[in-house]
Subunit: 345 residues, 4 copies
């Protein structure tokens, strides 16, 4: 029993993903993405999403996000995202690096979400001084958000509509896209292109892969060349790309990705109930998937730690912590956590 609720990044890879690696490892294969696994990606994802989808496999979410943003944003363009967005606060300026000095603009919003009114106002304030100002170009939302909440398709559509109002492109950082879709019970399409998303960073590493992410470009597009150039120049065209592609194929085969995410979400839901029942601790935001933020006393958190529970005290806080559940969190671990919480009340 591990009792590690620090991050789904700390989970190992799932069995079927490992199997896909073994399978891909049986013999030689062409390099630099010209192998049989990589060649199947466009087809497999097009089927999954129900629309023509161009797939650029990479090994990190930062790469997927940065290539996506740099693909559609000129150096003098700006990207609007929530002020707590990972691309804004946790990638050390990777979007700025890939995008040769593009600008990230943080937008306020409760529960980790942008809302249409704030977004529109923020874009509007940025327009109108010609060549002296950055040109609003792109919006990016994170699914699930950095606050652990989930954008409903209608919310995504509302933000995309604002983007289109100003001729902006819509990107989604789907680091935990699987958890969102599992939580929403909607189709992958509904949470993406059918709600106006143009490019999606489809995360897989956090939900059972070793290191595999896919940048998806929806619809007919002339962006493939740019995306592939950016990938090559940034060192993300792996010589043995087949191993990334094989993970991705296994990940979406037979709904494995939703099965893994659903399990994680269910563990989280049990914990949510335990927090709600607790006399002192409380949820920081409307928890929707596998990432739960809890407000509590420093003493309370200390007691949990003493009980052997690992979690993540939020930087700069002693009364706010994050608990993340993964595909491999066991029922027993979840129960132990809930018990420890109850006892530390």
């Amino acid at each position: 029993m591990e009792l590690n609720f620090r991050s789904d990044n700390e989970a190992p890879a799932a069995g079927k993903i490992l199997d896909s690696l073994l399978e891909a490892n049986r013999r030689t294969a062409w390099s630099y993405g010209e192998d049989q696994w990589s060649n199947r990606l466009d087809g497999a994802f097009s089927e999954l999403f129900g629309t023509q989808t161009t797939v650029i496999p990479v090994s990190t979410g930062t790469a997927a996000n940065s290539i996506a943003l740099a693909c559609v944003t000129p150096p003098w363009g700006s990207v609007f995202c929530h002020r707590g967005a990972h691309i804004l606060t946790d990638e050390c300026g990777a979007p700025e690096f890939f995008g040769n000095g593009l600008r990230m603009v943080g937008v306020d919003g409760e529960n980790g979400k942008m809302v249409a009114a704030h977004l529109r106002e923020s874009i509007r304030r940025s327009v109108g001084h010609g060549v002296h100002s950055y040109q609003p170009t792109t919006i990016s939302m994170t699914q699930i958000t950095e606050a652990g909440t989930v954008y409903e398709p209608a919310e995504i559509a509302a933000l995309s509509a604002v983007a289109k109002e100003f001729q902006l492109t819509t990107h989604m950082d789907g680091a935990r896209f699987a958890n969102a879709v599992a939580a929403l019970g909607c189709s992958p399409a509904d949470s993406s292109w059918a709600s106006g998303v143009d490019l999606l960073s489809f995360g897989a590493s956090k939900n059972g892969c070793f290191g595999a992410e896919a940048l998806l470009i929806f619809g007919e597009t002339n962006l493939r060349e740019r995306a592939e150039r950016l990938r090559k120049r940034s060192g993300h065209l792996l010589s043995k790309m087949r191993y990334v592609s094989a993970q991705l194929l296994a990940y979406i085969e037979d709904g494995l990705w939703l099965e893994l995410a659903g399990h994680a979400n269910r563990q989280a839901a049990q914990f949510v109930e335990a927090v709600k029942a607790h006399p002192e601790a409380r949820l920081e935001s409307t928890a929707g998937a596998n990432e739960i933020f809890v407000r509590w006393t420093p003493a309370g958190f200390a007691a949990l730690e003493k009980a052997g529970i690992q979690f993540f005290l939020w930087p700069g806080y002693d009364d706010l912590a994050r608990f993340v559940f993964s595909f491999q969190t066991t029922e027993e671990e979840t129960v132990t956590l809930c018990e420890a919480l109850r006892r530390s009340g």
Copy 2:
């Protein structure tokens, strides 16, 4: 039997490397390089090289090379390398991208090697116009070279000495460093820092790993911060870095890397003999390790292809081809190739 002599990039991963992945996959581990495998890298490589070594694990050689060059070269600095160097001709300007517009300067040389006199002349021609010219800053040699030849330690030392003469830093792109060390029978140190190399891109993907490379910085250094920043900003700090680090540890444990490379070299050596014995085909350069370039008639190569042999006709040529041998090339495959060559004579 595969008969694929196209590239060692097309070989799968070795059994012991796969085992290391399985081992690292047993439970949770801290993310972003703070795991127990990553933490052991500095120690393990310092021991292997016999000097203090800072290790920056990444998943591609392009990343290792580009981070290395950008670490020591300002945007207005130039990097001198052989005119056929991979970093110059095959990375789509990744060094320029990471280095914000640094300049690569190609130096002539037989057999894929720079020689001291040409290098010195090339540096000298670049100096002396102050702020109007790029500032010569770095040299980079590839081991084994793009022509399949191997730099002797004395040759490395001679080039490094030229670099030091002008206060330049010395980098080695060691994509096939293992094959070189196995061929030379020298110590890893002799082929690197002890001959004046300051930074080494230590390749592993081509010789049995899934995707693992290590940027090594020798001696006491203040470059770690820069290297780690560049890695993060370029999206190469994997959340599950343990899987890269575990491969690297297994790769250098008990001499596995030299064992795998030695096997590949021995297969290549048999082929070299077959080429030498052939009435028409001839070696393009002094083959030293696992990569053999052969000049022959288009008809000859066509006959080989017809015999089911896969190899790489060099872009722009119909009478020059590359044959690469890997850790998994079997004796039987090598014999079959040599036979096919003999018969096509």
Copy 3:
């Protein structure tokens, strides 16, 4: 009579500046800043500021600011400035371009000024997530501010002290430095290095020059090489640099710069009195120098325009306007403006 109160950027050049151009134009001179005028800059500015000063002449404030910031800030470093700062809102990302993707961080503050508490809080929030976050590196304040207010030396010192607390460098965008010094009646030193400023963009174009600005680096420094490289690579090393340098020398000779700025300030002061005496119009901020922001009714402003007065309605507002006074605003023009305001009451 021109009645143009739109911007001091719209004023012509002053007579003595023109004379300096004529003087410099008499014969040949070495190019690229190796002329006798450029060679005198370090000495002249060192004397003016009472400390060793390195001078990098350029022709725009954007160049001076961007070279300054890129000189001291790595691509993964951040620059803290007021949220309304010109470098943040009006240079289309020039600092990001010169700085290869550094980040600008806007800090709140009344009257266009940062205050120590907000600045400290803003820096603190940015620290502490290691390689994942930008590294706070630099602060920049604008003198006079974008709200037309003037930083007192004590205020500058307080902000610089916060910078030093976190080992940050202090830059001042002195586009209207002359107006500030004239208004404060202090020494140039007191408004800069003696209050902790490390680099100053010393503006001259707005106050009587054709196009001349100087990046000043105070004290012993190893930044000259970086600054000169950045200037060359960005195309700001003029072949006929003498004409910029000659302007700068004339500008600071015999206090011309303060004389011109003082005149502009005095005209502005008359207008301030007129606004204060007005029943409806009011000052938007504590006007301190030559740039006055006025809140009034759209009808009021329309009446002024009808009276032939040119001023700048602030983008996005119909009840806020800027009036700028320059060295060449005549008494008569000022009186006419004040009269027109009074009549439009």
Copy 4:
């Protein structure tokens, strides 16, 4: 008498150019290129060149060249130019900086000129390795060349034709475009767009201006936005742009530019005759305009220097020197130089 034959960059500004500055300095004018002089540029140059021309005024040739190249070349694109081209060897990587790491490729050629066969071969060698290689995108020729020779319209057309063969864009660095047109006696059109040039850096600073260059984009274009963004971000949108624009207008009015250049060329022609008549000294290349390269003995050059003649010994040589003639080189100075040469024979 100055006897300065070092560079036309060292000449002062011409009288009529100075007059244009005085004229533009009479009153206020809108800033940032929205003044009446800047507004007339498109029209004036369209008339001069006989085709629709978009004008981007800047103050240095490096800015004009770099904006031009970055406008049409992606970061993964390459620019082919003569191996001695100023943009390759003397701008410290400004094109790479503006172009975010684009690559300059030097092409061999006698007399400072590229020829079609070499250019085609050089482009061909760069094509064909997909995303791993830079994408050939642009060619650039310098008029007059760095060897002082002049491209004939037919030669320009031949190079442009090669460019079009590969879908590349053609740029001309016309730092001394005036001297070329004066020498050729052709129309400005013939030496540019009518021979296939898409973008021209139209130089003026070396031929009588204080600091004024114009990037010209010929024909209908969607590049204006990109060019203006690059100009702003690089700090080249002068607040008082009228002074640059006024110079440019005066420069091309009534053929002043050709008159000034013609004078310089004629002085140079006298010197060419003197060199031809000299027993030892000889022309390094077919001198065509105002820049003459001479091979001679070190002792010979020393004698000239002793005679008070200023010229430019080529970096790295003691037997090669450059003599440049400008609009203000007097007959008397030329005669004195020729005499000194004769006497030093």
